[in-house]
Symmetry: C2
Subunit: 249 residues, 2 copies
């Protein structure tokens, strides 16, 4: 299988970089082909703006979706966007490796969604969600946190990881990916607040790498996260009256 | 009072721009001082990277929080970061005006958190959450969506707005802001998917502007969104056994 690792950390030698290496080595050893897509090293510009579109449909008013659709159809998207789309078309599985910064993926990866997942090309009308463009592919997050795992208990200090990743998981599902459960490496202290002494911290890094290495070979046979889909919604996008989840407030 | 509007849309003439104008005019008419902070027009770079730090603590390994703390203490943060911090110190209320892109704020605004809310300067140790730096100030989101309101019903097609804004709300609370309920303008079609005919759409734009204008004068007397805080957590950041919310799974 083909695996794309989208890596979003400014320091290649960071623990995030180490987890990307673990994934690459482990998956290659299992016979897969792996490409590492280092957004920082490639200088990816995450800001969706008029300047990315050479000959605009409307030169006076910048409507991102209008320009995305037109430039996709003309084959005139920015080269880095075309390259990212080609990588996605090639991949069977996409792993996003990043630190949780301000309760979400780093800006360089947030803007990757805004620029790369182009309207008209990778989604439109009913070609979304479980009928989305990438519906035969899998995607997942491998994420590190500064705070320790205990603080992520329900209503705890650091909040709930299911909630922090829900927007990104939903964006991946929006374009059709089957989303696998995230790999979360807690308590990775990247130079700031320190919760533990150095030896406990070092040991934890190794435990996280080992846990990830052990999970990787089985990824392709894992069940994906369930979402509601086209058959669950009425024509207005509202959950059908008959759906069992309508009991919830 | 002093109000800062942080505006994150690439087109000044967009409906988002119109809502920013409504806020500015309405608040000025009520006697407040308002500054519009246009991230796109100012060319804000949302990517946190080594190049923003002139003389690094460690030139071989880039640890963002280490550099943020050191450069804050030395007064050598990038000029645009210093300017944003000054604006926040000046403001009594910060309104973030942006479109919901891929289930969150646009990358230019996501990276604003990463670069501007500097470790050591605006948070550290126990100076977070309800003991945070900005605990005497208010903040809120004014957000537009492409999908219509019905699709945002629980488990509906477009998901739940409480969930989409929860990461950003939590980030604001992390640095001490009292977070007001968001102003959500649904069904604003920025050049892409169209759900309604043109006349319904135009009417809806006006309704959204009117609703916002009517709410604005009372903002300073609104109650803020409740969060758990230092008195609710034990020393590990876990919700105390005695806390009433421990009944939840």
């Amino acid at each position: 299988m083909n695996v794309l690792i989208v890596f979003a950390h400014p320091e290649r030698e960071s623990f995030n970089g180490g987890l990307a290496d673990v994934a690459k080595e482990s998956l290659q050893a299992a016979g897969h082909t792996v490409e590492l897509d280092d957004l920082y090293r490639e200088g990816f510009d995450p800001v969706e703006r008029a300047g990315h579109y050479a000959e605009r449909v409307d030169g006076n008013y910048f409507a991102p979706l209008t320009e995305q659709r037109a430039h996709f159809e003309r084959g005139s998207l920015a080269p880095e966007v075309q390259r990212e789309i080609s990588r996605l078309e090639w991949a069977d599985l996409v792993i996003f490796q990043f630190p949780l910064w301000w309760h979400a993926q780093p800006a360089i990866l947030k803007g990757w969604f805004e620029r790369v997942l182009v309207y008209g090309g990778l989604y439109s009308g009913s070609r979304r969600y479980n009928r989305g463009h990438f519906q035969d592919k899998k995607a997942m997050c491998s994420v590190t946190t500064g705070s320790p795992e205990q603080a992520f208990m329900p209503f705890g200090r650091a909040g709930n990881m299911v909630e922090w990743l829900w927007p990104m998981h939903s964006s991946l599902y929006y374009v059709g990916f089957d989303v696998l459960a995230p790999q979360v490496s807690y308590g990775i202290q990247g130079g700031g607040i320190r919760y533990q002494d150095e030896s406990v911290f070092r040991e934890q890094l190794e435990q996280n790498k080992t846990a990830w290495a052990e999970r990787l070979p089985g990824l392709f046979s894992e069940a994906s996260i369930p979402f509601t889909g086209w058959n669950d919604w009425d024509e207005n996008g509202v959950l059908k009256q008959t759906h069992p989840m309508r009991w919830r407030p």
